[in-house]
């Protein structure tokens, strides 16, 4: 029998208890509308004309034949955008809505059409005639770095997209003093974001000067700002209405894709709503991907396994445009000094432009690459020293700082809480580590092994410029409440958390609050859903806004009771005098009194987050110093694998335990799905299954049949253990949940394969063929 777990944390009315998500009913009945589910009267369908070359100059685009096709209403090319360029930050604006002079990856968009139906739009694209001059290309960073290699961007010499060189402490001296120094090279695969909902958008202009945009964008204030600049509109006239989002994971649904420009431009030209929906083929061949990365890591340790120094060299394939690569390469380096104490650290990062689709952020952004390399190498070191993997981790783990104290790493990353030791201990205990490690490893053609890992992730990510999240709490006269947020729930469960925090503060129930998803005409501005920032920062905004509304209500209550506002409290929808709870009134009566008593009040609470901006300063990307996170989560994981030694097929078993320090689990089941999902879909997937196969810029497996995804029949039934550290910088102690387990899963699985078979798979994914050959090589070596 399956029990519904009902673990309860803390002593709150709403928070810390399992709560059904506020949008679950809409989703489970099919009522939740995603971008592609919308249509408007008089709507046209758009389609993108794409390049058949990975690298080519555009000599001419002739659209004259298209315009004569019945049913075609408008055509647009890059020229219509008047030289507009955009990018992740001011200095990296290197991309046009549609290429005008040169395409830099296969199927890059060069034009778009709007027609009365999808078939006509498709046919119209075939009639656009483009004169091309194909150019030689570069298809991995090692080709791109060759002297005299073709340039992806003529103004970017040597194809260098990002380069960092950081050094903290004295790495060379530490290596010289080390008992053991190891150098290994690892590789992470080129991966799809993997969400099931492809990009889709519908846009229209209610008049010449106002744009409405409804798209599958996880960070709607990105298109708000970008489209304002693109169409030369004041921000006040750009209205982004957010539908439900079928997951994000960074990149494509933050940043713009061709359809996000095509729909507004074609709608402007025709005066009609225009809808574009990508196919999964469009998504998998042209949208953003996780960077493939080559990581050479050199680590020195003492005889008893204490880390002395690490030198990491990371080489990445950035793809055609800069996108978020500067942040990626920062993240790869910055948290190397966690979750273990590392006194000396040096980092060289090189990210190259290539003629592949652009790489960008993805769940576990940056840290996943380097944590994989470092945590597998740590097992290699432990083996050489004769230490147990759990023992070496416990020895090196950062201690949880005492209350009021802050731990500082050598690169000036700060944390007030660190539960990694407790995570490691709890996982080892739950999985019966010592026993299982010694257990029989071979059963016929199957070999079993178990692996361990630990990881960290930044939460409440803060970048330069605008960081604050905001909220508006509108008290309706009948006692119901509207919650207006600029933050976006793309599946992580933040809408529920925002409502729960507001309910907790106001002393009412979760179901009394109705959350309004982003509509930039009404909701407050917000940076976006990335870097595990929403719960931590929008959560603080929720608390502040609800406190502001509560303060106004308590003033009214105090007047009614003839006491001071601080003497009144609200709990379970009852308003009462603290010293004499008999003197009370219902929540509804208080609200009605406030609204109706002449001249009548309008209660609106406002609040925004401040934590990300002021507490510990901002990170310096080029020097690698400082905090990208408001706080940091910690994770430990043990995974068992079953290896078919005849075929090389590896699968995770149900012996899988993750302990996660999210500070405080505001909604425990949501933390569990986040941790289980992050570990499986973006972690185990990288370790065992997913990789785009490429041939000169062409993606050979752009569908979910040839590109293997993690499915239910192989899903480990991962047990999640909550580790509570109550971080002072998170709302109610909270930190991130999910990106940490994206980082802990790959090393745990690879270490488990080694435990089962004795082979190290250093290039992900450990697909059957790779494991088969590694086992064969090992057998041949043993026979000699």
């Amino acid at each position: 029998m399956v029990e519904t777990k009902s673990e309860v944390f803390g002593n709150y009315s709403v928070l810390g208890k399992p709560m059904p998500r506020v949008d679950a009913r809409l989703k489970v009945t099919g009522q939740a509308k995603y971008a592609a589910d919308y249509e408007f009267p008089n709507m046209l369908w758009g389609q993108i004309k794409r390049s058949p070359y990975a690298h080519a100059r555009i000599l001419n685009i002739d659209t004259s034949k298209v315009e004569k096709l019945p049913g075609v209403m408008a055509v647009t090319t890059g020229k219509d955008f008047g030289g507009f360029k955009w990018g992740w930050s001011g200095p990296t604006r290197d991309e046009e809505p549609f290429a005008t002079t040169k395409v830099r990856y296969l199927y890059e968009g060069v034009a778009a059409v709007a027609a009365v139906d999808e078939e006509t739009a498709e046919e119209a694209c075939d009639l656009i005639e483009v004169e091309w001059e194909p150019l030689p290309g570069v298809f991995d960073p090692f080709e791109a770095m060759q002297e005299g290699a073709p340039l992806v961007h003529d103004d970017r010499p040597e194809n260098i997209c990002v380069e960092y060189h950081w050094a903290f402490g004295d790495v060379e001296k530490a290596f010289a003093e080390s008992y053991l120094v190891r150098e290994d090279t690892f590789q992470t695969p080129r991966m799809a974001k993997g969400y099931i909902e492809p990009p889709a958008v519908i846009a229209y202009w209610p008049d010449d000067n106002h744009l409405v945009f409804q798209g599958a964008k996880g960070s709607p204030y990105f298109p708000y700002r970008i489209l304002s600049r693109c169409f030369n509109l004041p921000l006040s006239n750009v209205r982004i209405i957010q539908p439900f989002i079928g997951s994000d994971f960074g990149g494509t649904k933050n940043d713009m894709v061709h359809c996000d420009y095509a729909a507004p431009m074609l709608a402007k030209k025709t005066g009609r709503p225009v809808k574009l929906v990508y196919t999964q083929f469009d998504e998998l061949t042209t949208c953003l991907r996780r960077h493939p990365m080559w990581l050479t890591i050199k680590t020195g340790v003492t005889k008893d396994g204490m880390l002395k120094a690490t030198y990491l060299k990371a080489i990445a394939d950035g793809g055609a445009y800069t996108r978020m690569s500067p942040l990626t390469m920062f993240l790869v380096g910055t948290c190397m000094t966690m979750p273990y104490k590392l006194p000396n650290f040096k980092y060289d990062a090189y990210n190259y432009f290539t003629n592949n689709p652009s790489s960008a952020a993805m769940r576990g952004h940056g840290l996943y690459h380097s944590r994989f390399a470092a945590d597998v190498q740590l097992d290699m070191i432990a083996e050489e020293l004769g230490l147990d993997p759990v023992e070496i981790r416990l020895k090196n783990a950062i201690e949880n700082p005492k209350p009021g104290e802050v731990y500082e790493t050598v690169n000036q990353v700060h944390m007030a809480t660190c539960g990694v030791k407790e995570c490691i201990e709890k996982v080892a205990e739950a999985v019966n580590w010592e026993e299982r490690r010694k257990a029989k490893k071979v059963d016929g053609y199957r070999a079993y092994g178990i692996g361990f890992s630990a990881a960290t992730y930044n939460s409440g990510t803060k970048l330069s410029a605008h960081n604050a999240c905001a909220a508006i709490v509108r008290i309706c006269e009948d006692g119901s409440v509207n919650y207006l947020t600029g933050a976006s729930d793309v599946g992580q469960g933040s809408d529920t958390i925002m409502c729960a925090i507001a309910a907790e503060v106001l002393g009412i129930r979760l179901e009394d609050i109705d959350l309004k998803r982003v509509d930039t005409s009404f909701t407050p501005v917000d940076p976006g859903s990335y870097g595990s920032r929403v719960t931590v920062l929008a959560g603080q905004a929720a608390r502040n806004a609800a406190l502001d509304a509560k303060r106004q209500l308590l003033e009214v209550a105090a007047q009614q009771f003839g006491v001071k506002p601080e003497e009144v409290e609200i709990k379970n929808k009852q308003v009462f005098v603290k010293s004499n709870p008999e003197r009370s009134m219902s929540w509804e009566r208080l609200v009605r009194t406030a609204c109706y008593e002449t001249p009548g009040k309008v209660i609106i609470g406002r609040g925004y987050s401040t934590q990300g901006i002021t507490i510990l300063g901002l990170a310096d990307l080029s020097k690698g110093l400082g905090d990208i996170g408001t706080n940091y989560s910690f994770t430990a994981q043990a995974s068992e694998v079953e290896v078919d030694v005849e075929t090389g097929v590896v699968k995770c078993t149900d012996n899988s335990v993750i302990a996660h320090d999210c500070g405080f689990p505001l909604n425990p089941p949501a933390v569990e799905t986040q941790v289980q999902g992050g570990a499986y879909h973006q972690g185990v997937a990288a370790a065992l299954y997913e990789e785009f196969k490429m041939d000169k810029g062409q993606t050979l497996n752009p569908n979910f049949i040839d590109y293997k995804r993690p499915r239910a029949y192989e899903a480990p039934m991962t047990q999640v253990i909550h580790v509570i550290t109550n971080d002072p910088y998170g709302p109610y102690g909270a930190k991130e949940a999910s990106e940490g387990s994206c980082c802990s899963a790959p090393p745990a699985v690879i270490n488990a394969i080694h435990n089962a078979t004795g082979v190290w798979i250093k290039e992900l994914p450990a697909e059957p063929e790779k494991v088969f050959w590694a086992l064969k090589k090992k057998r041949e070596k043993e026979q000699k």
Binding site: M1, V2, T4, P18, P20, R21, D23, A24, R25, L26, K27, V28, T29, G30, Q31, A32, K33, Y34, A36, D37, E119, G194, Y195, I196, E197, P198, F244, I245, G246, S247, F249, V277, T279, Q280, V490, G491, Q492, G493, N667, P669, A670, E672, T673, Q674, Q676, G677, G678, A679, Y680, H681, N703, F704, I705, R709, R711, A712, Y713, A715, M717, T718
Partner: protein, 161 residues
């Protein structure tokens, strides 16, 4: 594209429909575009993701892999037809209560696969549950709570509490 429209008679969520459809029209397009039943999602059109799963005569079928004319005289249930008015189906109820749902894009297909399973096999083993939803890709929640929710629903439907 060239074929002449033909007569299609079928029921969707208990309601009879008579339509003229082109022979190359997919069932998923009829459901979403003609009948406006957008709870059935399109993820891949390759029969690989399961977001478009519906029940045809009680079986879980991907509506992107079926021509509309193939369901002539058949009974189709979509996600919109699963709950009984305001009362959720036990599978839906368990998924909501157990916290199985994240972004929700795969959820309708997941419910339809589970519904077909439990109608045919009220006491599935865990392996049978996994097998029933192996064609339904999720991208964010890890399947654990989906599997558990289907088991909880099975138990409730058998008359447990």
């Amino acid at each position: 594209m060239k074929g002449e429209p033909r007569e299609l008679k079928f029921t969707v969520n208990g309601k009879p429909y008579e339509l003229k459809v082109k022979p190359n029209t997919l069932l998923v397009d009829i459901l979403r575009k003609n009948l406006k039943l957008t709870g059935t999602k399109i993820g891949c059109l390759d029969s690989a993701c399961g977001a478009c799963t519906v029940n045809i005569d009680g079986k879980a079928v991907r509506s992107c892999s079926v021509l509309a004319l193939q369901v002539n005289n058949r009974e189709v249930i979509t996600i919109e037809g699963v709950a009984n008015g305001d009362k959720l189906h036990p599978i839906q109820e368990a998924m909501v209560e157990h916290g199985a749902i994240e972004c929700g894009f795969c959820t309708p297909g997941m419910v339809m696969s589970a519904r077909a399973l439990l109608d045919e096999n009220p006491s599935p083993s865990r392996e049978e549950v996994r097998e029933a939803i192996q064609g339904n890709l999720c991208a964010d929640e890890g399947y654990v709570k989906y599997i558990e929710a289907i088991e909880i629903a099975a138990e409730r439907m058998r008359g447990g509490k």
